[in-house]
């Protein structure tokens, strides 16, 4: 008995460290034990069990309950000490709970780190716990899938290499090349030159970073991902913008996340990151704040204006935040003419930062809305609206005459219409 106790303590002690090892050994042992017990039970107790199929009516009951005995019999070699340890430690209890959920087929991760466990414990409600667990589960699953893919690719590459070796040994032909294979580096350098040029002469495009208090950590992370992507799109363009990160406070969550993601590259980026606000850098009347809540619709891309995009991912339904910002500073606002060109179906009119960037780049280079709005995700609309050249011109003329004394009609009425629909 004493030996037994010692062993189980030892196991519980090692448990967190050797998660992979323990189940292996234990289940094997257990399995042997079960079958032994089963055999003993079968042979000793009731002879009827051994021949259940001969009597077709009565032994059913006996057969049906047989499994319970073996299941219960694990009490002896089970885990008598754990019940006391779990009383003291809520962390271990949570871990147990997650393990049980996994057995039940719930969406929880297989492995969980101490830090993540702490985050779970800090979650205020049951549903937020479940949400976070599901997030971890999906993350783990994707990681595993990627791992498998990587291994498969490696195997394929290995095989291809072998085949190639066989082939090359056959034909050993000398070839003449003009360039060494340094395409990636050359491209990087070329983009660097273009970027430097944009820093000097490019049209400014501002990302307003003053939204970090409106976002939760997850939203902030996706905002930074989108920023990274839009910077990448800009870099590859023929005529890049000169990107400004305005209101980026040093050591704010935004700054920390950006530095973390860019690493050493952060200081070598060809863009302007500043703690100053955009109104300090540029004349107020040339600034246009882009926001989907704006009543004014953007008609053309102006090359002498400074467009501002709020780097704000809003999953929390706070409408009008960026419009309020623009109102406070008394800036002009505009929104993309999505309704004019697209048959909108679902989804918010708020686009991601990289989509915004691609649309603006396209407008800057071609000036065609049809071309630019190709970057709006297809799932959100069901196609382009047919606007003939003539009617569009007349609409534009009307709009021009109206904007002198009022806002365009559609945008003002929009909220009212919604209200009415709701109430009737």
């Amino acid at each position: 008995m004493a030996v037994f106790l010692k062993m189980s303590i030892g196991i519980t002690f090692i448990r967190p460290f050797a998660k992979v090892l323990v189940p292996f050994t234990l289940t094997k042992k257990r399995r042997v034990l079960y079958s032994m017990i089963l055999q003993r039970y079968m042979s000793s107790k009731i002879p009827a069990v051994t021949s259940p199929k001969k009597e077709s009516t009565s032994p059913e009951q006996l057969e049906l309950d047989g499994w319970k005995i073996t299941m219960k019999s694990s009490v002896q070699e089970g885990v008598p000490t754990v019940s006391s340890t779990k009383d003291e430690d809520p962390v271990a209890a949570t871990r147990e709970l997650i393990e049980m959920w996994r057995l039940l087929g719930r969406e929880v991760p297989e492995h969980i780190s101490e830090e993540e466990l702490k985050t779970i414990m800090e979650c205020a409600s049951k549903s937020s716990k479940k949400k976070y667990l599901k997030y971890l589960y999906v993350k783990e699953k994707m990681k595993k899938a990627r791992q498998i893919k990587k291994e498969m690719k490696a195997a394929a590459r290995e095989k291809a290499k072998k085949d190639q070796l066989l082939e090359t040994s056959k034909e050993d032909k000398q070839q003449d090349f003009l360039f060494l294979r340094l395409w990636d580096r050359n491209m990087d350098i070329a983009m660097g030159w273009k970027g430097a040029q944009a820093m000097q002469f490019g049209q400014p495009l501002v990302f307003d970073m003053a939204y970090d208090n409106y976002m939760k950590p997850r939203e902030l992370q996706s905002a930074v991902s989108q920023l990274l992507e839009s910077e990448g799109w800009n870099r590859r363009n023929v005529d890049p913008f000169h990107i400004h990160f305005c209101n980026l406070k040093i050591d704010s969550p935004f700054h920390r996340e950006l530095v973390k993601r860019y690493g050493e590259k952060w200081d070598k980026l060809l863009l302007t990151a500043t703690e100053k606000s955009h109104i300090d850098l540029f004349p107020k009347d040339s600034i246009i704040y882009l926001t989907a809540d704006s009543p004014n619709v953007m008609t053309t891309f102006k090359h002498d204006k400074i467009y501002i995009v709020g780097s704000f991912v809003d999953k929390n339904m706070q409408p009008g935040t960026s419009l309020a910002k623009a109102k406070r500073l008394n800036l002009a606002t505009e929104c993309l003419p999505l309704d004019k060109y697209l048959q909108w179906d679902i989804g918010t009119k708020n686009l991601t930062l990289d989509q915004m960037m691609r649309i603006l780049l396209c407008l800057k280079n071609t000036g065609s809305w049809e071309e630019a709005l190709k970057f709006v995700p297809n799932r959100k609309h069901s196609g382009y609206l047919e606007v003939s050249q003539h009617s569009r011109e007349s609409v534009n003329r009307m709009k021009k005459s109206k904007t002198i004394n009022s806002f365009p009609k559609g945008s003002v009425y929009a909220p009212r219409k919604r209200d009415l629909k709701e109430n009737i």
Binding site: R31, T70, L97, L104, K126, L420
Partner: protein
């Protein structure tokens, strides 16, 4: 009980299939007035068509009785007044949505072609064969037991499945199979099986997850080992707060075994976790109270009623019956209960007493006013809904004008009839109110002043002559101003809009303020119910009484939800339980 349930679930579906709904928009207005009768008659027709299955008879009887009852009542009320349900009356939103001709029938999902579930215990060969027949993505055992749990198969079949699995797996049955099996045992009230599974789970697993414990608790409370359910509850508490269902089960178990103290302690704990108890829990206390003649216990039941009052909760129909029975069983007090409705004047039809007024008390009123200004209009960022300049302009405007009688949401009223001109409709409404010598304030946006086809200049000038006007910026919200202007003018002031103002209610920080707002809204919101432009404007009557659990010491009035009426969260019940003491 389950039959009853399926019957109820079918009900909305029948309602949706109602051929009356397919009326085109042209017939829309005419059919509206015949609505109640038509709707109900068609319902009955449908029911009689569908009563073929014997299962539903119980539910059917209930339904027909109900419809008869409702019809009688509708006839009665029609003699008195209009047949529009009040804006906030239970079921009104449902009716409004049915008036909407575009409602579509939901297509049923296509049924998957699957194997037949066994009805008798199978032996292992049969299970093997069944598994071969099964072609699906999921794990066979898992799938089968899930289907069994879904169709409530007998536990012997499930047991034979587990035996087969165990035989294949060296005597090991996986946890999820065990839990599903446990579900079946609990469902069929097989207590001894529950014990067995409990023993197995205790032996095999160090701790249980919440789903398993919930089932075990539910299974154990009916047995002598109900105290172990409390231990399981303690286990859940270590990791997360138990659900209200867990508490409900434990309390029911305690009451079942006459342990009143434990039940009350659990109830206190439940309230301590900020959970809203299930109505079943509260009902259980009342049901149990019939056999107890104890002042302390009665006081606690009265506390429950006050809890309902404070949180604006309404008992269900069966709970109302329990309350009535309990009151009538109190010895020496001779309570008499009846189910009634309340007249528009605020008098209970049963006893003639006046129901509490809807008006807020003075400090509640001031509190609400402050909250509206701070949370709805300002909301931490004045630029979101308006601008500071505009807010100042508005506050000055309100301060320097005498109190108004009626505040109109100009845009909402003007857009009431899509075919009529906006300014015309607004002028109609304003002039009719001005004729009654009411001081009117019209709130709108600046674009209304710009002459165009829909907003004629001369009509807007007439409006401005007959009423005070305040025009907000085009990108500001006007509803918050409406609320504040009304609140500022005082208790007699009403406002006209059809908007239910739910988004503004949502801006308020806590449930208590929201309830206060809702109460004020019920008492002060006028909604126009005209269906034709040009006709004389009539308003929906305002409730003058508050729909809430209330007492005067020797009488209780308790509104309750009918089982077959769907009530939305912004509606209040129309039926009451009236209790008074015989003297």
């Amino acid at each position: 009980m389950t039959f009853c349930f399926t019957g109820i679930r079918n009900f909305p579906k029948l309602w949706k299939n109602n051929p009356y709904l397919v009326v085109g928009p042209g017939h829309f207005y005419n059919s509206l007035f015949l609505k109640d009768y038509n709707g109900i008659r068609n319902q009955q027709k449908l029911f009689s068509l569908k009563t073929a299955s014997p299962q539903n008879t119980k539910a059917m009887n209930l339904l027909t009785a109900k419809t008869r009852y409702r019809r009688k009542e509708d006839e009665g009320s029609n003699k008195v007044s209009s047949d529009f349900p009040h804006l906030f009356a239970a079921g009104a939103a449902k009716k409004r949505s049915q008036m909407n001709p575009q409602s579509k029938d939901h297509a049923l999902p296509p049924e998957r072609n699957v194997i037949q579930l066994p009805t008798k215990p199978l032996n292992s060969e049969q299970w093997d064969k069944l598994k071969e027949d099964f072609k699906g993505k999921a794990n066979f055992e898992n799938w089968v037991i899930t289907q069994m749990a879904h169709h409530n198969s007998s536990i012997d079949v499930a047991k034979s499945l587990l035996a087969w699995v165990a035989a294949k797996n060296n005597g090991i049955v996986s946890y999820n199979l065990l839990v599903k099996y446990l579900y079946l045992c609990v469902f069929h009230k097989q207590t001894s099986e529950v014990f067995d599974v409990y023993e197995i789970m205790k032996a095999r697993y160090k701790s249980l997850e919440s789903g398993g414990s919930t089932l075990l608790i539910r299974g154990l409370i009916h047995s002598d080992r109900w105290r172990e359910a409390l231990l399981l509850l303690e286990d859940i508490k270590k990791v997360m707060t138990p659900s209200k269902k867990n508490y409900n089960d434990c309390i029911q178990g305690a009451l079942l075994h006459q342990d009143v103290n434990i039940a009350w302690n659990l109830y206190q704990e439940l309230l301590g976790h900020d959970l809203i108890p299930m109505m079943e829990t509260l009902k259980a206390f009342f049901d149990f109270g019939k056999d107890i003649k104890d002042d302390q216990y009665s006081n606690k039941l009265i506390d429950i009623l006050l809890y309902l009052r404070n949180n604006q909760l309404y008992p269900g129909e069966s709970f109302a019956h329990s309350i009535k029975t309990w009151f009538e069983s109190v010895p020496g007090e001779q309570w008499k209960g009846q189910f009634t409705t309340v007249q528009k004047s605020g008098q209970c039809l049963g006893c003639g007493k006046t129901i509490e007024s809807i008006h807020l008390s003075l400090e509640e009123y001031e509190f609400l006013k402050r909250k509206i200004l701070r949370d709805v209009i300002d909301g931490g960022d004045q630029y979101k809904k308006t601008t500071p300049q505009e807010l100042k302009r508005f506050q000055n405007f309100v301060k320097h004008s005498p109190p108004f009688d009626i505040v109109i949401d100009g845009l909402n009223v003007a857009k009431m009839f899509p075919k009529a001109r906006e300014s015309q409709v607004l002028l109609d409404v304003v002039s009719q109110l001005a004729k009654q010598n009411l001081r009117v304030l019209v709130l709108g946006r600046k674009h209304m002043l710009i002459p165009c086809a829909r907003w004629r200049k001369d009509e807007m000038e007439k409006v401005q002559k007959q009423a005070s006007c305040f025009f907000a910026d085009n990108i500001s919200e006007d509803d918050p101003f409406l609320l504040y202007a009304t609140l500022h003018s005082g208790n007699h002031c009403r406002f006209i809009t059809k908007d239910l103002l739910r988004d503004h209610k949502a801006c308020l920080p806590d449930a208590k303020t929201q309830r206060l707002f809702f109460k004020w809204q019920q008492g002060h919101q006028l909604a126009i119910i005209n269906r034709f432009p040009g006709s004389k404007i009539t308003f929906q009557h305002i409730l003058c009484y508050d729909t809430v659990v209330q007492t005067t010491g020797d009488s209780w009035h308790i509104p309750y939800d009918e089982d077959l009426v769907e009530r939305y969260s912004y509606e209040v019940p129309t039926k009451w339980l009236c209790l008074h003491r015989k003297t």
